[in-house]
């Protein structure tokens, strides 16, 4: 069998997991037992000094495997709420909204992306057609193995951070990001990319990344929230000095699509040899073949099986001429 990432299979597993979680969880209890939805709250991690381990070039050492703690990309603003309109009602929780994790939109306070009316209308149209897409633009691009982009990569399976002098590398299940720390200018503005162009620097425990050259094509979730190619994102990766957690806090500025700047927050936790090697979603590692050495996990190649069909294998898109 291949160990490449079959998106359709992963999606089926994710939905099954979601339904069983919501079927078993009583109100007020932590969303435990599910393989994806581990927590319902966002911890507070303050920006400040870094007192943890450092690499030889002086960067805070945050290498390793990470994954978000709340949910997958089913729903951007009600992360544990399922995809509205799902023909399988078991995937939509009956719990009151306040018993589930908060919106990933941490500002404004209503938890909604401050869309201009035309942009809200398009997001709603996409969502209304998501479960039975009849036009190519209704097919979620990640289902076609497109890179998950910024910010969805942080809520799509676990991922790995590797660090080098002048670079932080993010290896996602769907796409790769190279963060340049050497202060060079951004690419020319007419170059537009799925994972954008990233320039970063460290401020104490916080990796600050300026993100431009975004092609705006990767949606934030199956609910269809989006930005345009004019979006400017400022990301702050705020690492806890205990080395086990970080919060992703990103400011989105895009006068083409939004009425005001807004902020996304996504909490993440570390995965390591302390965890079982393969939980099927957050941490798809394998035990390395290392005779005589201590337990070591590694991750096999991350390659989506290209163009393997639209979400749920239900969409019919016009044949290419």
């Amino acid at each position: 069998m291949t160990r490449s990432i079959y998106l359709n299979v992963a999606i089926v597993i994710a939905s099954v997991t979601l339904s069983s979680v919501h079927a078993q969880t009583a109100p007020g209890q932590p969303v435990g037992g599910g393989r994806i939805q581990l927590e319902k709250t966002v911890p507070v991690i303050a920006e400040g000094k870094w007192t943890g381990k450092r690499l030889s070039d002086g960067q805070p050492d945050v290498e390793g495997h990470w994954s978000n703690t709340i949910a997958n990309h089913n729903n951007w603003t009600d992360p544990q709420g399922g995809v509205p309109g799902d023909p399988d009602p078991r995937t939509i929780p009956k719990t009151p909204r306040e018993t589930r994790a908060p919106s990933r939109v941490s500002d404004p306070a209503d938890g909604q992306v401050p869309f201009q009316p035309w942009a809200r209308a398009w997001q709603q149209e996409f969502l209304a057609n998501f479960h039975n897409p009849t036009r190519p633009e209704y097919v979620e691009p990640l289902a076609r193995c497109a890179p998950a982009g910024v910010p969805k990569s942080f809520i799509w399976h676990g991922y790995e951070i590797r660090q080098y002098p002048n670079y932080v590398l993010f290896l996602f299940g769907s796409g790769t990001r190279i963060i340049h720390l050497d202060g060079k200018l951004h690419l020319p503005a007419n170059i537009k990319l799925w994972n954008a162009d990233s320039r970063g620097h460290w401020e104490g425990n916080t990796l600050v990344v300026d993100v431009t050259n975004n092609n705006g094509k990767a949606l934030f979730g199956r609910t269809g929230e989006f930005a345009s190619e004019n979006v400017h994102i400022t990301e702050r990766f705020i690492f806890d000095n205990n080395g086990e957690r970080y919060n992703y806090v990103a400011k989105f500025d895009d006068p083409t699509v939004y009425t005001r700047t807004w902020t996304a927050t996504i909490p993440a936790k570390r995965w390591s040899e302390k965890n079982p090697p393969d939980n099927g979603w957050h941490y798809e590692a394998a035990v390395a073949n290392a005779p005589g050495q201590p337990l070591l996990h590694e991750h096999y190649e991350r390659i989506c099986v290209e163009n393997n069909g639209p979400f749920g294998q239900t969409a019919v898109t016009p044949a290419k001429k």
């Binding site: 398009w122 200018l185 094509k217 073949n289 070591l296 163009n307």
Partner: protein, 258 residues
């Protein structure tokens, strides 16, 4: 006297010639005492057009080839398949679907790739597809499970002096070796040898073995040059998205002001 001078001159040239590689070796970048291949690299060879010697074609510049002994030693049936691939190369080359190029093709494909190096591993990020290959140099061996089928193979490296030797197994059958239809099966086994010729040039050698396709192991060699342009960087090339990216983030009819 004249003769003596000449002898000294010849001796001097000989010493300079013998001395040169040592001098170059001393100047190569190092990490923990091993050669440090960090940087952005690209071949100038015509290897990706056709590994074997060939005259100029409309779709390939001429080249004397990069295969030791010139000819890839196909088994008879495999040679027929290669010829079919060649005839259908304008439609069947996996590169045209923008699929991950595989090993060794990704290395001599004419687009840059970047090496990020740590003592425990070497990470190769290809501009084409932004795919990532990890060469483990931490003493680990190929996985015990034998059903892995990777585009880029499973890579385990070790150092022999200043040469990085990488053993690559566990391939799938989805990749070609070049645009001319040279190919392999899932039984492919590659042994790579990476070594610095000077601080900005790597000699890359790959020996390919595949009992269902080739009659014996064979070797290709290409030089890789460091990109030294100011501020040069990889620009992600997810070209498999080009057929559908017109539909996102919203169709033309939705654009504000329409």
């Amino acid at each position: 006297m004249k003769l003596l001078n000449k002898t000294f001159l010849v001796a001097g040239v000989l010493i300079a010639t013998i001395g040169a590689p040592t001098q170059a070796a001393e100047k190569i970048p190092r990490l923990n005492g091993k050669p440090d291949f960090s940087g952005i690299w690209q071949t100038t060879s015509a290897a990706d057009y056709d590994l074997e010697p060939h005259s100029g074609r409309k779709d390939a510049p001429p080249s004397a080839g990069v295969v030791e002994g010139n000819v890839i030693p196909y088994l008879p049936e495999a040679l027929e398949q290669k010829q079919k691939n060649f005839a259908a190369r304008e439609t069947d080359d996996p590169r045209l679907k923008c699929w991950t190029l595989g090993t060794p093709r990704g290395i001599y494909y004419p687009e840059p790739f970047q090496i990020f190096q740590r003592p425990r591993d070497i990470t190769v990020v290809f501009e084409f597809g932004h795919s990532v290959r990890t060469i483990h140099t931490n003493g680990t061996e190929h996985p015990l499970v034998k059903d892995n089928e990777f585009f880029l193979g499973d890579s385990r490296g070790h150092w022999e002096g200043d040469t990085l030797v990488v053993d690559v197994t566990d391939f799938n059958e989805e990749t070609w070796l070049d645009r001319a239809g040279n190919y392999h099966s899932g039984q492919l086994h590659v042994v790579e040898r990476w070594k610095y010729l000077d601080a900005n040039t790597i000699e890359y050698q790959a020996t390919l073995e595949d009992p269902t396709v080739f009659s014996r192991p064979w070797t290709l060699t290409v030089p890789l040059y460091r990109h030294r342009e100011k501020n040069f960087q990889l620009i992600e090339n997810y070209c498999f998205t080009l057929d559908y990216d017109q539909y996102y983030p919203y169709p033309e009819r939705i654009k504000p002001g329409k």
